[in-house]
């Protein structure tokens, strides 16, 4: 005789396949009930089947087809970012060294305190430098870096 008169529901059977172990009653029932055993085996075969389904196939090479449709060349050259980095480094070095060398040569250092003596002369200069940097970065961001994915 069966311990448990109730057949297992689909929920219980599926929960078991999803990793929830049967309790003792359920275990005994399934072992003794051909009906429940058959249902369980159907589910088991289904789960095994999921792993053995054939992979989808196209009759052409998807990757090559997509590559052919991609925008061929972005506006920026391949080595664009490294080129820009180099230009920035060289420009910075020049910006520091050149005035020093020229200052030595032309002897204009004596005039510097006078030049920067008032805040009014310094602020516009700093603003101009900062503005130039921001403008350049905006141009780079807007027109170069993200061009490929938008186009």
């Amino acid at each position: 005789m069966l311990n448990n008169h109730h057949h297992l529901s689909d929920t219980e059977l599926q929960m078991h396949l999803e990793g929830l172990p049967f309790n003792t009653n359920q275990q005994v029932h399934v072992a003794n009930c051909p009906k429940c055993m058959a249902q369980l085996q159907l589910y088991q075969q289904m789960y095994i089947g999921f792993e053995q389904l054939p992979a989808p196939k196209l009759n052409f090479d998807l990757a090559q087809a997509v590559m052919a449709k991609m925008p061929v060349s972005p506006v920026a050259p391949k080595s664009y970012s490294t080129l820009i980095e180099k230009i920035w480094v060289i420009a910075t070095v020049f910006a520091i060294i050149l005035p020093l060398v020229l200052g030595q040569y032309f002897g204009y250092f004596d005039a510097l305190p006078q030049l920067f003596s008032t805040m009014f002369s310094v602020i516009p200069m700093l603003a101009a430098i900062l503005g130039t940097v921001l403008l350049f970065q905006w141009i780079e961001y807007r027109f170069w870096s993200h061009r490929m994915v938008k186009g």
């Binding site: 999921f50 389904l53 196209l58 998807l62 990757a63 590559m67 972005p74």
Partner: protein, 207 residues
């Protein structure tokens, strides 16, 4: 995700390289995710010509939206989301329904009731399939393919994502924008329908 084992750092490096238009990285990314995209498109779309177009469209979309990918989910989840939405748009244009009208219930209570009916339904009055009458696994696999193809489109997609692509409920919920409980209950119903179909096949064979 099945077959795709990239660490988040590798994923990030690949995305950056693709955004810098590194052709090798682009090719690598397509190769890595083509199986997932194809699997989803094939489950959701039936016509061969549409499948071919959509697989390509999905990748072109992926690359054009990639700069907006914020690494808030796995790349595979984001790609699956784009695939799902692309197929959904296509189906809506063709006026195909994700769920057959049998399943379209505007009233959530009714939906819950129907689901409860499905999953608690006993099989006592169904013809018994005896274990020794079960088919070979290879035969089951064939029937299973037919059975999956007969499910409503949404159910097929969920079976694909959960059982074949091995995605989590959370990921599937993000992809389909369905509440997690709905994903779970639809999966239960889909499996029950598949089992009933398989059972019917065995009965035909053993008649």
């Amino acid at each position: 995700m099945k077959n795709i084992v990239l660490t988040s750092t590798e994923e990030r490096q690949m995305v950056v390289a693709v955004l810098n238009n590194d052709r090798k990285a682009i090719l690598q990314m397509i190769r890595l995710y083509e199986r997932l995209v194809m699997a989803m498109v094939f489950r959701m779309i039936e016509k061969t010509a549409d499948r071919e177009d959509l697989c390509q469209d999905v990748f072109l979309k992926i690359f054009s939206y990639l700069s907006g990918f914020k690494f808030e989910s796995k790349l595979s989840t984001w790609i699956a989301q784009i695939t799902y939405n692309t197929c959904l748009n296509h189906l809506q244009k063709k006026k195909n329904l994700l769920l057959d009208d049998v399943f379209i219930v505007n009233n959530p209570e009714e939906e819950t009731r129907r689901y409860a009916d499905t999953i608690t339904a006993d099989f006592t009055n169904q013809t018994v399939v005896m274990p020794d009458e079960l088919l070979q696994q290879s035969e089951t696999n064939q029937h299973l393919q037919t059975a999956i193809a007969q499910l409503p489109i949404l159910f097929r997609t969920l079976i694909e994502l959960y059982h074949i692509e091995e995605m989590s409920y959370t990921e599937i919920s993000q992809i389909t924008e369905l509440p997690m409980n709905t994903v779970k209950s639809y999966l239960f119903r889909a499996r029950k329908m598949l089992k009933d179909f398989l059972q019917h096949q065995y009965q035909l064979v053993n008649r």
